[in-house]
Symmetry: C2
Subunit: 727 residues, 2 copies
Amino acid sequence: MYKVKIFFVLLGFLTLIHSETVLAQQATWIWYPGDYDIWLGNIVQNRRTERGTFFPPFWKMDSHYVLVEFSKTFELASSENISIRVEGQYNVKLDGRMLLGSPEKLVIPAGKHTLKIKVYNQAGVPAIFVLGETVHSDNSWQVTYEDKEWIDESGKASETSTGTVYLNAVSWNFNSPDTPPSQFKLSTRPMPVVSEEIQDKGILYDFGKETFGFVKFHSVKGKGKLHIYYGESAEEALTVMHSETMDHLYVDNTVAGDVTVPGSKAFRYVYVEILDRLSYDSVSMLYEYLPLEYKGGFRCNDEQINKIWDVSAYTLHLTSREFFLDGIKRDRWMWSGDAYQSYLMSYYLFFDTPLVRRTTFALRGKDPVTSHINTIMDYTFYWFMGIYDYYQYTGDQQFIGQLYPRMKSLMDFCLSRRNSEGLMQGLAGDWIFIDWADFNMSKAGEVSFEQLLFCRSLETMALCAGIMKDTKNEKVYTQLAAELKTKLFSLFWSESHNAFIHNRENGIAGTQVTPYTNMFAILFNYLDDEKTKAVKENVLLNPDALKITTPYMRFYELEALCALGEQNYVLKEIRDYWGGMLDLGATSFWEKYNPQEKYPDLLAMYGRPFGKSLCHAWGASPIYLLGKYYLGIKPAGPGYESFIAEPCLGGLQWMEGNVPTPGGKIHLYCSEKEIRIKSDSGTGTLRFKSLSKPVCKTATIIKTGDNQYEIIISGGREVTVQYKSIK
Amino acid sequence: MYKVKIFFVLLGFLTLIHSETVLAQQATWIWYPGDYDIWLGNIVQNRRTERGTFFPPFWKMDSHYVLVEFSKTFELASSENISIRVEGQYNVKLDGRMLLGSPEKLVIPAGKHTLKIKVYNQAGVPAIFVLGETVHSDNSWQVTYEDKEWIDESGKASETSTGTVYLNAVSWNFNSPDTPPSQFKLSTRPMPVVSEEIQDKGILYDFGKETFGFVKFHSVKGKGKLHIYYGESAEEALTVMHSETMDHLYVDNTVAGDVTVPGSKAFRYVYVEILDRLSYDSVSMLYEYLPLEYKGGFRCNDEQINKIWDVSAYTLHLTSREFFLDGIKRDRWMWSGDAYQSYLMSYYLFFDTPLVRRTTFALRGKDPVTSHINTIMDYTFYWFMGIYDYYQYTGDQQFIGQLYPRMKSLMDFCLSRRNSEGLMQGLAGDWIFIDWADFNMSKAGEVSFEQLLFCRSLETMALCAGIMKDTKNEKVYTQLAAELKTKLFSLFWSESHNAFIHNRENGIAGTQVTPYTNMFAILFNYLDDEKTKAVKENVLLNPDALKITTPYMRFYELEALCALGEQNYVLKEIRDYWGGMLDLGATSFWEKYNPQEKYPDLLAMYGRPFGKSLCHAWGASPIYLLGKYYLGIKPAGPGYESFIAEPCLGGLQWMEGNVPTPGGKIHLYCSEKEIRIKSDSGTGTLRFKSLSKPVCKTATIIKTGDNQYEIIISGGREVTVQYKSIK
């Protein structure tokens, strides 16, 4: 296992504790779908501060259901002792009979029984943990927020089987009665200062790289305030007047003692000023992180690319917390467009599906829908698209089932906001984001990019309606998507530009061509060969085209180029762009990087000198690009039951890596002469080009075209192919 | 003020502390409309226990908005110091600039300013109290749960004036910074035991009448459990095995001390068993109540009627708490049909409009609507009708404005559930309640009563749409109501029965005639003279018609008869029915009373020997009937800006009383020879019949028909008329 070893050295901070799937028969804390995600999301997203002041989100925050009934019908061969733990006030009904008080222990006789536990919890999430020999709380329990069980005058209970909507309960990994969900905390680990520097009024501490956690002062003595200024750069920490985050910690220690700052922060540098009669021995920190297993990996002969992969992985880990956050210094919020990219990257690294589900539910919140997700129109669409991908990568239909009602109501919201042309146009309160661009970009009228994402969202709805066997709506969504696609081409494809134009105002097509619609149309496979070629030449590879300056949109730009087979070009771009950040000293990747900008101006954003986030999830896309388009591994059927491996060296001499799947992982090695591949599960197609006739001793090689070959991979056996790569 | 004196003696328990309206310039705690009602409603409704076990509602319980922005724009002549108190975590923005930390004091310079306070509170309701010389938190502040104020890359804030929905904040009477809404508790007052009786294993205490509160043991010493069984009757307390509520209180007092049971209960009798080594000196209780002013009153020459009025008032007070509850022993929940009657009674007694508003908001909860209110179809319609009445009695348009969005979405829910005929029919999960009846009543198919209430609800929507100047929907609702009314007559009026039939199944009209639709049609003024006469003879006064056995429906039955001028008959019915309960020892009025049932069987309900509630809000209707149809006072325009006084002795020799109005009260005295009336505000029409030519020295008498006269009342002057009543 070269991967684990190397990574431990390289990435230092990481651990391997993780348990994703809960066995059906293992007792675990359970709750109503979405409840915990919404509740924990409120806590997490309300931790943002700006220069010491509480800074909450500007969109609606929902709450969990405060009253939930959990139920399970089972048959016991012999009587069984069960114990019950509950977060909230509760009662227990066995076979319709309410038991005295709130029992913590129960003996259930042999036979068929229905157990119901009804829980009220206003401040936290109603959750239960039931443990018997065979009876366990798990995802097979049913939950409802309105059981509608009323008693008529004669004492007869109403029939709850009709009219009451049940869902399956959900869980995470709270598998002990003593670790209830409300007590969840990220893990911490002590980390030392790497260097320190005395300043005029204090000391600047350097932790060596971007990190996240709680600063700790050792042996503090005296009375007064510790003034702590955080910086992702030394300049930020030292500016005092402009550092984005800070703490002013009052201490009154007559006897020396350690003091830890109560709130965790993102920083590399910490500048501490002491204006009062205080002293301390030293400073360290508690690194705060979500324990995640590095299931995916990538190594190649190019050490710069390896470094870029490592820093990307670290960036993604720092932003993969209770939820996928955008940037750890400033927002600490969930943003749907940012999270969408984190999901995709994560499928090639952690494959932590509970984290994807938590973020998806928390972003969605509850009905009614009163605005776009994060108030941003495009972010609503990314939310749908994230579910499309989730299903491709995981094959998890249960999650689709839990989410489908909230998908429908969000789509109803979108459909109700179409204009008379049936197109999406910004209404009062809608934010059309698209990208932070350095050129003038109109958000007015009907923006082609929004229609494109809307179309993909409708396709996602059709897919999920099919999974849910909701054939009526499957038809409706399919039809709506097809109609919208037709309009997209008739209204926005410009024959004169040979590309999609950016927008249309008052029925008049604009003349600006931006990369967004064009590159996504390639990713969605919406273009015929001729149009694909046109977009490639006129937009993607055109040196005069408008330039993207965020890693966010570079993600899709480079992905589109990879999809067109431009891996060699893209590798060079990765070296230049992400390598450019590394050359400037980046230890995690940034929110925005324009190679034209100079230090320290490049630290500024949002009109503030240190407004830019230097650890932003969307900066980590090389993980995704290298896994999907160089190792070339992606699902062909839901959850990798079938998959494609189409390795492409893109100018590298060799590369090797793992891609995680629901059933384990796929390992691939590829040099100019040899390909080795092994998958723990599923059936894959290895696709490659070879100048020579390839040789494989353990599998059949199928020739599919000039120099093109395929091999079927299955059953956990490693397949080795000798071939000659085309550069 | 005879009223206050007499009532203090008669009703004992009551106090007069109350302040309904908050002056615009008085600082008070404010919050988002509905939030506090929903939050407090959850606490109150989850206090139900059944034989010691927690017994929560079976419908969806919502939550407050956890993140709310409060804002106010004002102009200061000179700089001002203001102080801020908040329930929750918060930040403060002055003129768009976020202030450091969470300031509790602030100096605002002279000039025009906008102050924004954004509050996060998961467990409780986000609420603020702002106090300056001129700047005060009050209902003029704006609130929103999604301010949509985002910052673009350049640092520019979005324009929140478009796309953000603001409402006016609401308040109750938390007018001091030190009485935040989360700390609200009902008042308590010590009350003694009236008598006690030694039993086999314990002592039975009698508090002399139905009451509510916390049982208190004095000088308890020793270790063990106090077993406390509550009873609305002595039988219930003594049965031990069947008392509906009980407490088992563990005590470990080495030194004697007082012990108060933590949860309040409803009871008249308390039976205490001690099986352990415990002793105590005596028992008392803390009566728990909402301080309410008895603004309305009624006295007449008939002492039985006076007693009925007093016990009704006490019944209503016991059930008028944080909210209007149904019964205080068992449910302690809000039920829309029950609350609807409490509202009406309350307009003739407490006129406590915040209590009406709290109950209305708490019953409604939040969107999305997932079932009928309390799961009961008729209860959804009563909710609408309650708003109709609220507007008539109070003239309060602001409340309509706050509620209108939730009225529309609830009506959308109803409209979406109509069958192909456009009629309401029970769907899965719908409870068709109507009444607890002792005859067989079908709930199948299309029930005429539900269509009738639906029609009235649509009329309410039309009224409120008009108030909201939502002319488009005013038209829609008016049209829908008219269409439904037409169908009601064409499908349910039976020429052969000369009455409305009860229901229709699979397109076939039933043959049963029940009182409900018929009597409500009279109350809603839907019938012409001929049909009115038919209903009166064939249903209301027909001794062979199906009998109502709940005070709940007797309310409307007797009201319909009063509306038809049958006050003499109704007074006899009141004496028989409510007098019948008094004769059986009632100290508050009951959930159900069938004069045929014998003691102690009449205590049973819901298949349980003491299931019946002996203090039920809907038992208190004589307050309403005597105020509205004997004193004869009711609003003619919204909020009593104009009113009618049409006294009717109904066989009494004299009566006297007050009816509260938003502007004070209307006092009326009426004997067979003299009428005296005085109103604090509004313009009224005194309508009366006289066999002789009436004489009034201070106002003009208008003759309107044979023996019929009117006098216009205004300006706070008392008008005295000499006349000769028609018996």
